[in-house]
Structure formats: structure tokens, C-alpha cells
């Protein structure tokens, strides 16, 4: 249930932003989940819904739109680009779980498939981001 903590950050940030914008109701919250963080979408949505109750301004029940962002990585040493989905099968369960908690742990447990360098970067799909908030003033 580490998803709960991330859902809490989304709900807190959404409410803060809605108050700044003087929204009376929050009607849509679009969230991107980076594939690298391997979030359980159902648990995450359940946590978002539970945490949204009794918020001011209120968040509509079906407000959350969750999209998955494919994770891509690129090597700073040789320029190779690859997908996390291709690399994931080479990681053991403990390594994958550690990346689930902190996506940057990928630099510890993985290497560039072309040159073996640890000096690569996460180009897309790192973790959870709040993309947009819609509401009624």
C-alpha cells in the first residue's frame, strides 16, 4: 500500500491548487503513472477515491483519469535508447520491488543493454505526476 502515500500527495496537491484557483468543485484530475514505478492502478484509484472524501473543495467521484506513461531510458555513454519493459525481465523480484519504491534505484540494479554503463537517464515514465486539474469556479 505504498500507493496510498502517493495518492495522498496527489489529493493534497490537487486541493491546494484548486484553492489557489478558487474552484468550487473539482471535476477532473488527470494523473500520469510512470511505468517504472509499477503502481497497482486499482489500489491507487481506491486510495485516491477514499482520500478524496470530505475534501474542500469537493472532488467529484469519477474525477480521476489515470494514464500510464511508458518508461524509456537512454544511455549518456553510448546513446542507446531502450524501454523499461524490455529490461524488466532481467531484474529479480527484490530489485523490481526496490525500483517500485524509488524509481531511481534502476541505476543501481540495471545497466545499458548496449555498453553496460550505469550512466543512463530516465527519459520518460519515471513516477506519478499530476498533469491537469479541471473544475468549476
Amino acid at each position: 500500500m505504498h500507493e496510498w502515500a502517493l495518492a495522498e500527495s496527489i489529493v493534497t496537491a490537487t486541493v491546494e491548487e484548486a484553492r489557489k484557483e478558487k474552484l468550487k468543485t473539482i471535476t477532473q484530475v488527470t494523473i500520469y503513472i510512470g511505468e517504472l514505478q509499477q503502481i497497482e492502478k486499482e489500489i491507487f484509484l481506491f486510495a485516491l477515491t477514499e482520500l478524496s472524501k470530505s475534501q474542500k473543495p469537493p472532488i467529484q467521484k469519477d474525477a480521476f483519469v489515470i494514464k500510464t506513461d511508458k518508461s524509456t531510458l537512454s544511455c549518456k555513454n553510448c546513446g542507446e535508447h531502450w524501454k523499461y519493459s524490455d529490461m524488466k525481465k532481467k531484474l529479480n523480484k527484490t530489485e523490481a520491488e526496490s525500483i517500485h519504491f524509488i524509481p531511481e534505484i534502476v541505476f543501481v540494479h540495471a545497466r545499458c543493454p548496449q555498453c553496460g554503463s550505469p550512466d543512463f537517464e530516465i527519459t520518460t515514465g519515471r513516477g506519478v505526476t499530476l498533469s491537469s486539474i479541471k473544475g468549476v469556479r
Binding site: H2, A5, S9, I10, A13, E16, I102, I105, V108, L130
Partner: protein
Amino acid sequence: MEPRTSVIENRLKNINRIIAVASGKGGVGKSMVASTLALHLSQHGYRVGLLDLDLYGPSSHIILGVKNTFPKEEKGIIPPTVHGISFMSIVYFTEEKPSPFRGIDISNIILELLAITQWGRLDFLIIDMPPGIGDETLDVIRYIKRSEFLVVTTPSKVAMGAVSKLLTMLIELKKPVLGIIENMTITKSSFIEHEVQRLQVRYLGKIHFDHTLEESIGNPDALSQTHVMKDLSKILQKIKL
């Protein structure tokens, strides 16, 4: 939009005091001071957390002999309790492998740890800082606004040169500095004391070089009996810890 920053204050709201053990220079004994400070406070009945933010070279777990434990996943992650201390470190996830992180990765890891760690109610959270005034120090200043700094140096002019820069920055940013500890002293030089006074920061005292300390690494009961702990306890009395 970055959502994690919004939740940090909530995660830390039940912690009474947050003390960052810092230095401008590496190898001066920050981790030893942070670990023994956490042990000292825990042994005096306080609820204590220890967060090792030295992401390249974490060492508090070695000093405290932390082995075969992992945070519990419950609405975030709950740090394991080790010798009465809630202990969080990146080492749970890196398995002692090298950690080649760049600056942006460091900031992301710190944000993630602060956003997902459920500390619960604590009297003190001690942060074992990495050396210097890089990303970790700037992030602690930015995200943990209540941090108080306990600064460590050795008697070396080289160490104090770097420590002075950290102190100057902390003073400039109006961050509370509890004082300076002079660690691993061998001679009776008053160089550090004069330098610290020149910067108008409180000089707290010396921890003498302890030839037997290495034998106590990994054994908190033995650590508690060392001259380092005795010197540190005297110093901490001055700041009512």
C-alpha cells in the same frame, strides 16, 4: 506538476525536532555523530528516527549493525526499529551495490523518501547528511524548513575550510545552527574554536580520537561505552539534548 512536495509537511508534522548532522567535508565523522546522537537520545527515553541521506556512501547502518531488515509497506513505508531507533536508509533498496546517481536523481530520491516514509510520532528525527553544500543539503533546506543543523569538523585546517563555507551559507539563509563539534582531536589546538568564534557560531566541544572505536562499529551496546559517546554526551548537555 510535482505532487510529492505537498505531502512532506504532513509526513513530518508529528516530529518535534529535526536535527541535520552536517559538514562541509567528508570523512569528519558525521555518520558516527548522527548515529551516536540517535542512540544517546533513544537511551534517554526519546522516540527517535534516523534518516541516512548520504545516498552515495550510506554508513549509519554499518555503525549501528543494521542487517536483514526491510521497511514495512503500510500507507507508505514504515522504517524498521533498530535498537529503539526508527531507521531509514537507501541501503534497504540498493543492497550495498554502487549507487551512481546524478543531481536530479538525488533530488528525486530525497523527495520520494520524504513523501512515502511514515515516521509516526517522534521526539527527534536525526538526519545523517552527506558532505558539502550540494543537492542533499539544498533539498533539506528547501523541503524540511524546521531543520536545525549540528555541524561536525575535524581539527584540520582543510576540513575547517570547507566547513566554513557550509556555515556561511547556513548563516546567510538564517538556518538555526546548534553549534560545531570538533571531532577526532589528538592535540590541544584551539584553531577550530577561534575559527568558529570568528563566524559567530557556538563551539560545542571536542570528541577525542578514540583508538578503540573501530572495534565497536556495528555493536550499539559497545558504542554506548566508548569515549566518543562519553565526549558526545558532555557536548549534548550544553544544548540540552
